[in-house]
Symmetry: C2
Subunit: 349 residues, 2 copies
């Protein structure tokens, strides 16, 4: 299967994104949702920022204080034995976990789909207790002319999925938490199927279960039920440890195509594809045996968290799957795959 | 506050419940849902059974095989170093966790609320992949003359919450998974509030969050959204480690009364009470500072998993809260508390 990575890759890097305040630095711009809006391709970028540390012995973590309605920071001495700093993404304390960066959403616009202009101001910034640690990994579903954005709302209460919507990418309306923690990797189908909305989601269980892909139904996009596990892990494979929904599914004659991610026990994240039944999307018709895209380019292998390709959005246009994907939790990249080649690579479920 | 425990306590014990098959033994009958049905009090008992072990070196775990539509068992050598048998409730393997017993629901009926006759056959038994490890901790909400039963559906896919309903406690209809894993301790309010159904629930998060009580809304009892965290843990208290909804809330003039459970880091489970606003049940008006019921009697302190009192149902009749509660994950007990005394024990939130 031919995967055409853009020669401009990575198409957006942290150096392209001025931080939202001078005492912070941009460490990541990745895992963007995507939509076509009039003549432009819009990326809803996940921008990760962190406070500049005063010295090498200090870790400063940011968080949103909903009561005070502002960002606050907390300093940790890296030699403090009560805290574990081994994961660059978090600080593990005796009674709480903190994130070393805070993410929010920012818009980038492009005419050609590869060269983007980035808005100066955030589009969606944390504004309640469920978003105190940030807003992550948006997906955009276009439903009835309105753009619905679901994202991970992260806080000390867990990782929940929230919904917002917009008609113009200027004004956004928030719709609250649609799936309780921990649940991420939600991808809402862009149209009703037999009168019901559907979404892929990925509950994280604490003891018995494993991180796999479930399907839910809804009458109104806000309340979700009829949960079913639809796509499981595959032992001893690139998707042996966790899988989750990626891009918003798109419809072709044969059914629904979902670009999803899988990771192995080494935390190497790849992309796969699955074909779901057109009318009964809980039925898997065919699925990747090998990844359709895996970390190979230097910008995919090296970065804040290396060996990661992770998509939150793709456009299906002119028989081509145009995949926007985060690389190494650091930057954005772009690749194209012909739909026929992608379908031919799938094997029966 | 005066708590009147029944002199007959425990009112139902494993010795009262013949196992569903001769090669199994009943090890627990606890955490029953309760409803008044015509002139009788109905308990929907959680019955836990396990296969008889052939010898002292073997642990046999039961599970429901949905493909074959029957119970199967698996034997473990207790000296096998790949498995951890230290928790009597589970077997922890390198790639999976098994439960040492399988629970299902069985009906008990009483005229006086204390002396019960137990049905010979199960009322609800595992019948799909989400219930392979059992059905646990039912709550019964009477809505529009129909009895809605939510319960924990336990399997290797996690602990999800399922819904069933009945009009006669003879025929039950299943409504699928209403909250994805891990989520338990769900208590559905018995009537609509301002046109919406509400339920308390307890998502279990894997990393950032803690086991606390959330509230959800629904248009139809099947799909749930607008999730909010409403009751949090209290550090350094009897409810410092986890809390969860218990009995179905009941309405008094001042609002909704919820009997919930809390546990400390020693896994000692107590009952508390909370008063929620009548029209805006996400607002906590008052809450127990001390437990309203804690493990003190021998049958509460000793058993399969000691130091546990845990309620899935209470009746509010004649100004009295009639609490049915599981003790030590082994038996059922009953206690009464006058509503005025209970309310006086609560302090402002």
């Amino acid at each position: 299967m031919n995967v055409f990575r853009a020669s401009e890759n990575p198409i957006i890097t942290p150096a392209d994104v001025t931080p939202s305040r001078p005492d912070f630095e941009t460490i990541g711009v990745f895992n963007a949702g995507v939509a076509r809006y009039n003549d432009t391709v819009i990326l809803l970028l996940r921008v990760a920022e962190r406070p500049l540390a005063p010295d090498e012995r200090t870790c400063v973590v940011p968080m949103y204080d909903a009561g005070a309605n502002r960002l606050v920071t907390r300093e940790f001495d890296l030699s403090d034995p009560r805290f574990d700093f081994s994961d660059p993404r978090s600080v593990q304390g005796p009674s709480a976990v903190y994130l070393t960066s805070l993410s929010y959403l920012r818009i980038a616009r492009s005419r050609d789909g590869v060269h983007f202009e980035i808005d100066d101001a955030p589009a969606l910034f944390p504004d309640n207790i469920y978003e105190a640690y940030g807003i992550e990994d948006p997906r955009i579903s276009v439903i009835g002319g309105r753009y619905y954005v679901n994202y991970s709302a992260v806080s000390s209460l867990g990782v929940a999925t929230a919904l917002a919507s917009t008609e113009d990418f200027v004004t956004f309306q928030r719709h609250g938490i649609i799936l309780p923690p921990d649940n991420k990797d939600v991808a809402i189908f862009p149209e009703k199927i037999q009168g019901r909305y559907y979404a892929l989601h990925r509950p994280s269980t604490s003891a018995l279960g494993r991180p796999e892909i479930w399907l839910a139904e809804s009458p109104d996009l806000l309340c979700w039920g009829h949960h079913r596990r639809v796509i499981g892990l595959r032992p001893d494979s690139w998707e042996s440890a966790r899988i989750g929904g990626g891009a918003v599914p798109f419809r072709i004659d044969q059914g629904w195509v979902e670009i999803y991610h899988g990771a192995d026990t080494e935390n190497r994240y790849c992309l796969g594809a699955v074909l779901l039944d057109a009318d009964e999307p809980w039925k898997v018709i065919a699925r990747s045996r090998q990844p359709i895209l895996e970390p190979q380019a230097p910008y995919e292998c090296e970065g804040f968290f290396g060996d990661v390709v992770f998509s939150c959005g793709a456009l299906y246009e002119e028989k081509t799957v145009k995949i926007y994907y985060g690389v190494a939790d650091t930057s954005m990249a772009y690749a194209e795959i012909a739909i026929d080649e992608l379908l031919n690579s799938l094997t029966e479920a």
